[in-house]
Point group: C2
Chain length 141, copies 2
């Protein structure tokens, strides 16, 4: 997500573009997938040392509302965030041994959404997370 596009979206939503928001956006893209607020705060502080954690939470809320970021839940009790990629989405592979998170661009959910629509429920989004053991942890145990 480049800055100009993001700034445009924020302004279109009646929001202002601040140094803190630029820092959070850059932190999000640098951190890649499924970073938590604490991590994003730490990274954003490199570019804007005075930014508070509260501002990070509020910024992530604004970004989510404007479609610039999305939340991810991996079951560890905290909300994670990542920049949205336009027209694409991915899913997470969480290793139950080392905790590392990989991703996959493949998704087999669309046909299911069709079946569900035939029952009257219109699916607009889905979350899919896969859990198991990564190659490294599988061989070393």
């Amino acid at each position: 997500m480049d800055l100009d596009r993001a700034a445009g979206r924020l302004r279109a939503g009646g929001r202002r573009v601040t140094a803190q928001r630029r820092a959070v956006l850059r932190a999000l893209t640098e951190l890649g997938c499924a970073a938590d607020a604490e991590e994003i705060h730490g990274r954003a502080r490199r570019m804007h040392p005075r930014i508070g954690l509260v501002t990070v939470y509020r910024t992530l809320e604004a970004f989510t509302a404007e479609g610039l970021a999305q939340s991810v839940f991996l079951g560890d009790g905290r909300t994670r965030y990542e920049a949205t990629e336009q027209g694409r989405h991915h899913h997470h592979l969480v290793c139950l041994h080392c905790g590392r998170i990989a991703t996959t661009d493949e998704c087999t959910v669309q046909p299911l959404e069709g079946t569900i629509l035939r029952r009257g429920f219109e699916v607009t989004a889905h979350r899919l997370e896969l859990f198991g053991y990564c190659a490294r942890c599988r061989t070393r145990r």
Copy 2:
């Protein structure tokens, strides 16, 4: 999940079968899918009035460890639980308008798990939640 099987699993895991645990198990099966700790506590209290919320949390943790229950995350900041059905699983359809939760037994994730295995990651479980609008909310808006 019937009581005898559940009791057997608990004992096999070195755990004891208590009146409180029986109450939580029954509450889980009566409440059906994706109930939160507060709801489970309220229902369990009908059978065991002195049970505390803390015990409910601890029991759900034990049940999850023994495979009697599983957690569900719908993004509202609380963990939900449901009794596991042996050899089967289902997914949740969450209406973004009325909040009602429906389920589907269909699942198109298995082929994806195969693809991922070929890359070295062994999937042992997955979570899939679908969000959108139920028939009722679709027509009334």
